[in-house]
């Protein structure tokens, strides 16, 4: 079984993002970038499938600037076999990314595509579902457990109110939720080994995909600030204050 893992290079999740003074976007200059945390979980799941003998090859794909090679290398150091980078410098939209991934899937013929449930920059949560639709495949989103069977895969999904388990016919798209696994740290020898692994360099034109955005960002602003209120001395004071506000 072959597994394709699309990964996105995003602002590191520990960075407190700042809106640019001209409201054109958020400050990305000199900001630490990392692999989208949900994609890291997806890589980990694919590598575990390989270690369990279920998967035979794990291909890590990214669409982004030249530096996204580092993001792919991270995936290769975790245990991915080879990489593909579709070089594109501007911001990407899920629809165009899904079209590129569809074209790559047509070449690579994976049995499973595993990716994060959303990227922590644009928070869209669309790419996996769009890819599944474009390929005519089944999907298991927000996965907290993935159990491959014979030509099928059982996916336990985190839904409002609890959990749901569904069975997908393969090939299928699975999107990883937070609790699917805990990604490993790559060891130094594996980081060294990853440097020798192959990354194929491509462009959107190679796949004939039009990247023109459909949404233009008119303005980006800080969310309304919340002011700190008052400190109360005791539970009685708190109850009195809430009653006065009509909250109790």
């Amino acid at each position: 079984m072959k597994v394709l893992v699309p990964v996105k290079r995003v602002v590191d999740y520990n960075v407190k993002v700042r809106v640019k003074a001209d409201n054109s976007g958020v400050e990305l200059a000199n900001v630490k970038m990392s692999m989208n945390p949900f994609d890291e979980i997806a890589v980990e799941e694919a590598v575990r499938l390989k270690e369990a003998g279920t998967a035979t090859e794990v291909v890590v794909v990214s669409i982004g600037p030249k530096q996204a090679q580092e993001t792919i290398r991270t995936g290769l150091a975790m245990g991915g076999d080879r990489g593909i980078l579709v070089e594109y410098d501007a911001e990407t939209e899920p629809l165009a990314v899904a079209k590129l991934l569809k074209a790559i899937a047509a070449e690579e013929n994976p049995d499973l595509v595993v990716l994060g449930k959303q990227a922590i920059d644009d928070d869209c949560s669309q790419t996996g579902q769009m890819l599944a639709q474009l390929l005519g495949w089944s999907q298991g989103t927000f996965a907290s457990k993935v159990t491959p069977g014979d030509g099928t895969v059982d996916v336990t999904r985190e839904i409002d109110g609890g959990l749901e388990t569904i069975q997908l016919k393969m090939p299928a798209v699975v999107t990883a939720d937070l609790r699917l696994n805990e990604p490993r740290y790559a060891s130094l020898p594996n980081i060294m080994k990853a440097k020798k692994k192959e990354i194929a360099m491509k462009t959107p034109a190679d796949y004939g995909v039009d990247m023109t955005p459909r949404l233009s960002t008119e303005r980006v602003e800080e969310p309304p600030e919340r002011q700190a209120g008052v400190m109360v001395e005791s539970v009685s004071d708190l109850v009195a204050a809430l009653k006065e506000k009509g909250a109790l």
Binding site: V17, D121, D154, E218, A241
Partner: protein, 310 residues
């Protein structure tokens, strides 16, 4: 032309988030139609027909739609899309699951989790876990939008008298099948639509200790939430989690107990009308967003609060 709202529902209940989606849909100006899909879900369609401002309800009642599987549901919505300029659904786990498939099939960009509809082409939506709000303009002819329910008022659930029109099942290849569901049974209100929420954090220390939160919640008729730390520690189930990677809530009253206020938790609750924080650590960041802060041992303050509310 009209706007199609895809209802969030079980087979016997219309979710409140649908009411918010109806309000959002009205911003486009056309007639609002509501699609109810499920199996044996006719009573839900009747409920939807009563929503004020709804002109027509489409009922797709078929075993194929029993568990809202994305492949079947998206095929149904795609088949109806021709008659609509805008397709709107709440950004719950159901909408997030099927809606992008609809957008891809129609070759349009989806606007995810809109918090404001500025005009028919322009939307505000949170990015970077709500640390920034982007205003985006869509150049697509058809709009596919998921909305954040807490950002829109609920349309009145009574007052409408729309006609219910059945729609036939759309054939779609059976790519996935339902196996099982484990829902957390509780008589408490749903976290995403509750007026009052009491959330507990790591400071509770154990699942047993969480009972003091639950007792207070039951006294107030509140929903129970938790920080990611409390969920990760196994005190409560996953779907209690309030925050960037959990539920986004905006109740009238949010009481955070023993929660320090990590940025990812704040992202999930800072739109609440009144925030109360009870924490032993006076330096806890939660106090910076709280309307009322109480520095106290939660094991004394919470039972006392329960008593005084009495």
């Amino acid at each position: 032309m009209a706007v199609l709202v895809i209802a969030e529902n079980t087979n016997d209940e219309l979710k409140d988030a649908t009411l918010s989606a109806v309000t959002a849909a009205q911003a486009f100006g056309g007639d609002v139609h509501v699609l109810v899909a499920g199996s044996g879900c006719a009573p839900v369609a009747d409920q939807a027909a009563k929503i004020a401002g709804v002109a027509k309800v489409l009922l797709a009642d078929d075993p194929a739609y029993d568990h809202g599987l994305a492949e079947a549901l998206s095929a149904l919505v795609i088949s109806l899309a021709d008659g609509y300029d805008q397709l709107v659904t709440p950004a719950g786990t159901m909408g997030k699951n099927f809606m992008p498939r609809v957008a891809a099939a129609l070759d349009v960009a989806q606007v995810s989790e809109a918090v404001e509809i500025v005009d028919a082409n322009t939307f505000k939506r949170p990015i970077y876990a709500g640390n920034a709000i982007a205003t985006v303009k869509s150049s697509d002819a058809k709009k596919v939008v998921t909305i954040r329910p807490t950002s829109f008022d609920k349309a009145p659930g009574e007052g409408g008298s729309a006609a219910v029109e059945p729609v036939a099942k759309v054939d779609a290849p059976a790519l996935s099948s339902f196996i099982s569901q484990e829902l957390n049974e509780s008589d408490r209100p749903d976290l995403s639509s509750a007026d009052v929420i009491i959330s507990g954090g790591r400071a509770l220390g154990s699942a047993e200790n969480f009972e003091i939160i639950e007792r207070l919640a039951d006294k107030l008729g509140a929903a129970v939430g938790a920080s990611r730390a409390a969920v990760d520690a196994g005190f409560v189930p996953n779907d209690y989690q309030v925050g960037q990677t959990g539920k986004i809530v905006a109740p009238k009253l949010y009481i955070a107990v023993g929660i320090s206020g990590a940025i990812q938790h704040l992202a999930g609750m800072k739109d609440s009308k009144i925030i109360v924080a009870i924490n032993k650590d006076e330096e806890a960041p939660i106090f910076q967003v709280a309307d009322y802060g109480l520095v106290a041992d939660l094991f004394e303050a919470v039972p006392e609060l329960e008593k005084q509310i009495g």
